[in-house]
């Protein structure tokens, strides 16, 4: 039987997306509210795999683009995805067969449920990151070598902008400028793909994974252990937030957070380097995990993810790290979103290798 996403699944999906957001990816709350509302108004959303789609069925990867503070205040218009669909139809002569999340981590992992419901199409059980990343070209399609030659954007007032960029880096620059003109919030389709071209170019199974991650802690005796097991994560440290440094440069929230070990970890200290997402974890000058592997700070008791803006001194937290999708560990993957792509002069080592 085909899976469907109901309003009951939305909370679990939102919790899971927050965990996969590695500190960034934007707030999941407005996305969850929009998803529940759209399911009530337009019906449950079928969750499909690539096998369920015809080879020439169009997959529409969608994400919000803009400033997190703005999306918290100027919430998306319900019809933004409709305008993008209409433009796809004008260009391709047929409507999309499914919506896909471009970024499963954070709010962009939850809101596609609302967008798929509004369009009356299924949601593809896949995304383009398997986590959250800050820039438009940091997607699996780019790593797989698909030409980044079409971006369609729609904003809250109904403007539609179609971009034919020469490559992924230009699509990032132009899309960012368009988003600013639209009040720092827009909906974006980056790439429009036939299902046949998706194999190896998207990260499959991530929506059901996010739901499973969200469900893992439900009613668990030891939520942290349940989450760690579901993720296959290494526990880097359990302790309390002892130092926070935040600054905004070049439009990005940068900073670092220092966690002091408590209990069994007393006497140890872990520092996370942050650029919207948690990127590098260092203990005693030794790197313990680094991007593109996932590093998430969770509440030690409830095992809920804490986003970068939600970090506060004194919080009791556990830092978890786990392997990214193999696609990110290829040379092109590391060039796109490895430590050097974020300015860290580090040779990538997989988290599970470091832990050994």
């Amino acid at each position: 039987m085909q899976a469907r996403i109901s309003t009951d699944d939305v909370s679990a999906l939102a919790r899971g997306c927050a965990v996969l957001g590695t500190g960034g990816g934007g707030d999941v709350r407005a996305g969850a509210l929009a998803a529940r509302r759209a399911i009530s108004a337009y019906g449950e959303v079928p969750l499909v795999t690539l096998d369920d789609l015809p080879p020439d069925g169009l997959v529409l990867p969608l994400s919000g683009i803009g400033a997190p503070t703005v999306s918290h205040e100027m919430i998306h218009a319900e019809d933004e995805p409709v305008r993008i669909r209409d433009e796809v139809e004008r260009i391709f002569g047929r409507p999309p067969a499914a919506v896909m999340s471009s970024e499963i981590g954070g709010g962009n992992g939850v809101a596609p449920v609302a967008w798929a419901a509004r369009l009356g199409v299924p949601l593809l059980d896949a995304d383009a990151m398997g986590r959250a990343f800050p820039e438009v070209q940091m997607v699996s399609m780019y790593v797989a070598g698909l030409p980044a030659n079409l971006v369609i954007m729609s904003d809250v007032v109904g403007n539609v902008v179609t971009i034919r960029p020469v490559d992924g880096l230009w699509s990032e620059q132009i899309a960012r400028a368009v988003a600013v003109a639209s009040g720092s919030s827009a909906l974006m389709a980056d790439y429009v793909l036939e299902a046949a071209a998706c194999r190896g170019a998207v990260i499959e199974g991530t929506v059901s994974r996010a739901i499973a991650v969200g469900r893992a802690t439900e009613g668990a005796q030891d939520p942290l252990a349940a989450l760690q097991e579901e993720l296959g994560a290494v526990r880097l440290l359990t302790g309390k937030v002892a130092e926070l440094e935040r600054r905004t440069t070049g439009g990005f929230a940068r900073g670092s957070v220092t966690v002091e070990g408590t209990g069994d970890d007393r006497g140890r200290t872990l520092t996370l380097e942050i650029q919207n997402e948690n990127l590098v974890a260092v203990e005693d000058g030794r790197v313990r995990a680094m991007v593109p592997d996932l590093i998430t700070v969770v509440d030690t008791q409830a095992a809920t993810a804490i986003q970068t803006e939600g970090l506060r001194y004194g919080q009791r937290v556990t830092v978890l790290a786990w392997p990214c999708d193999p696609l990110w560990r290829t040379p092109k993957g590391l060039e796109t979103a490895g430590p050097r792509a974020f300015g860290y002069d580090l040779d990538y080592l997989p988290v599970e290798k470091i832990a050994q």
């Binding site: 503070t69 205040e73 998306h76 007032v157 001194y313």
Partner: protein, 513 residues
């Protein structure tokens, strides 16, 4: 000391979950009378009892010129869905924001009790101040023509930065509906549309409750022949004049912890400290920074509704004088004077543990010998809980003193790891009522301004924000001559082309004479 003629006395009252406390302060802020009475289910009866008790200690109650009240009326009304007004909700933002309509995240029973219809009309602003759409005046008038609401709540996108549309809508509402109460979101909450809209709707739903409380208090004062000015305590530890409180009743929610923190600062004379308020069922820990409560960064839920109020950052632990040993977190509550061992009862409580441990002489009976080991063990566990909680709120600063207040303050040990000296000021048991009596009046404002070094009209905008915050403080009752900016903070915003910051300004000053 004999009474001097023409003293000007103030009464502070704090309605808590277990007790209603009252104090009388003279014009030099000295405590001249205190009382503690059980909080009644209807709140008002306990309030009258506490008021009568302190007035009875005065030679001449007519010397009382001001009454300051911190009360849970509004909180209780929301939690119990009682006496709430029906509110029409007008959001200015279409075509934006339509993916999440107003009240989407409300519990169904509260929405049913409050909502008299909601709509999203064209209007609102972008982050940079440009209008999203011209205000759709016709749609607003059509919506108002059909409503039978007791009050209207208005929330515009980015209204904390651009408030003109909300003000214009208030005029339209008055023109269409006459003297109906209007709640504007930019006057109540900060950035975050859904949270601010929720706060504006709750505020509008509480107008009736606010009138009820002010009438009850007014009647009680009249019956006792008192001709006084009345003020209400609000969530940030400051006061608002009664007519201001009737317009912003939602701001009274959460005043209890703020009062106790401010009272602790005043009674001890220490402005930077950890405060532990030990009550009957719980201990609230908070932090004083420069004499004001440190505020929480997390979203605050009231009755299942998410808001973005600035509340004191409070950590509550299940440790109170009535906490039952072996059945934590249960408490005997106000029945402590019958049921605790130290009062001849048969229930072992944390009060008994403290008495047996030599921390206070409370009660009428000796604690039976066979309980001593168990109670000593409970006291050690409680001390560990307190130490852990102190460590959590201390944020790595281990040398700050701890001010112990509340009726159960004697439970706390002489030394607490993670804190400096433990200070036990006189009248600590009624610190919250003292906090209400000595509070300043304040006003606050949040807006968006360009970041430093980005030029534009940044300095002018900051100056304007300061003036508006000061004007709000004066409207709340502060003396215009002594209003000061007590807080100015900037939080950088990410992913914006023109660097900008979220600016928060708070002005406060003593009440006008």
């Amino acid at each position: 000391m004999s009474a001097s003629p023409n003293r000007r006395l103030r009464v502070g009252i704090d309605v808590g979950g277990t007790n209603t406390d009252a104090v009388v302060l003279d014009e030099n802020d000295r405590v001249v009378a205190t009382a503690k009475r059980p909080t009644s289910p209807d709140v008002t009866e306990g309030l009258r009892a506490a008021l009568d008790a302190v007035l009875a200690e005065l030679d001449d109650p007519a010397e009382v010129t001001r009454v300051m009240l911190g009360t849970t009326h509004a909180t209780n009304a929301i939690l119990e869905r009682r006496a709430l007004g029906r509110v029409a909700v007008l959001r200015l933002g279409a075509p934006a924001t339509t993916s999440v309509p107003p009240l989407s995240d409300w519990p169904a029973d509260l929405r049913d009790a409050v909502s008299a219809g909601a709509t999203i009309v064209r209007g609102g602003h972008f982050v940079d101040g440009r209008p999203i759409a011209p205000l759709d005046v016709d749609a607003i008038k059509r919506f108002l023509a059909e409503t039978t609401a007791d009050a209207v709540a208005v929330a515009g996108v980015f209204s904390p930065g651009s408030s003109d549309q909300e003000n214009q809508v208030a005029e339209i509402i008055r023109g269409e509906l006459g003297d109906v109460a209007v709640s504007l979101s930019h006057e109540i909450g900060s950035l975050g549309l859904l949270e601010r809209e929720n706060a504006a709707v709750l505020n509008a739903a509480l107008y009736g409750v606010a009138r009820e409380v002010t009438t009850a208090l007014g009647t009680a004062l009249d019956a006792r022949g008192l001709k006084v000015e009345t003020f209400f305590a609000q969530n940030d530890g400051t006061l608002m004049a009664v007519d201001y409180a009737t317009r912003y009743p939602v701001l009274t929610i959460g005043s209890g912890p703020a009062n106790s923190l401010r009272g602790a600062a005043y009674l001890s004379g220490v402005e930077d400290a950890i405060v532990a308020d030990v009550g009957g069922t719980s201990t609230d820990l908070g932090v004083l920074v420069g004499g004001f409560p440190r505020e929480s960064a997390a979203a605050v839920e009231i009755g299942g509704v998410t808001t973005n109020f600035r509340m004191p950052d409070i950590l509550s632990i299940a440790l109170g004088g009535g906490t039952i040993v072996g059945q934590e977190p249960r408490s005997v509550g106000y029945r402590i004077a019958r049921e605790a061992l130290a009062f001849g009862g048969s229930t072992p409580t944390m009060t008994d543990a403290a008495v047996a441990g030599g921390r206070g002489a409370v009660g009428t009976h000796d604690v039976p010998e066979h309980w001593r080991d168990r109670l000593a063990q409970a006291l050690r566990a409680a001390d560990e809980m307190v130490a852990d909680a102190v460590d959590r709120v201390a944020l790595g600063k281990a040398d700050r003193p701890l001010i112990a207040v509340g009726g159960g303050a004697f439970l706390l040990p002489e030394r607490i790891p993670g804190a400096g000296e433990v200070i036990r000021p006189r009248h600590a048991e009624v610190a919250n009522a003292v906090g209400a009596a000595i509070a300043l009046a304040s006003g606050r404002l949040e807006t968006i301004v360009p970041a430093p070094n980005s030029g534009r009209d940044r300095a002018v905008l900051i100056e304007k924000a300061k003036e508006e915050a000061a004007a709000r403080a004066v409207a709340a009752g502060a003396d215009p001559a002594s209003v000061q900016i007590v807080e100015l903070s900037e939080i950088p915003l990410s992913y914006l082309q023109e660097p900008a910051v979220r600016l928060q300004v708070k002005a406060a000053g003593p009440l006008a004479r």
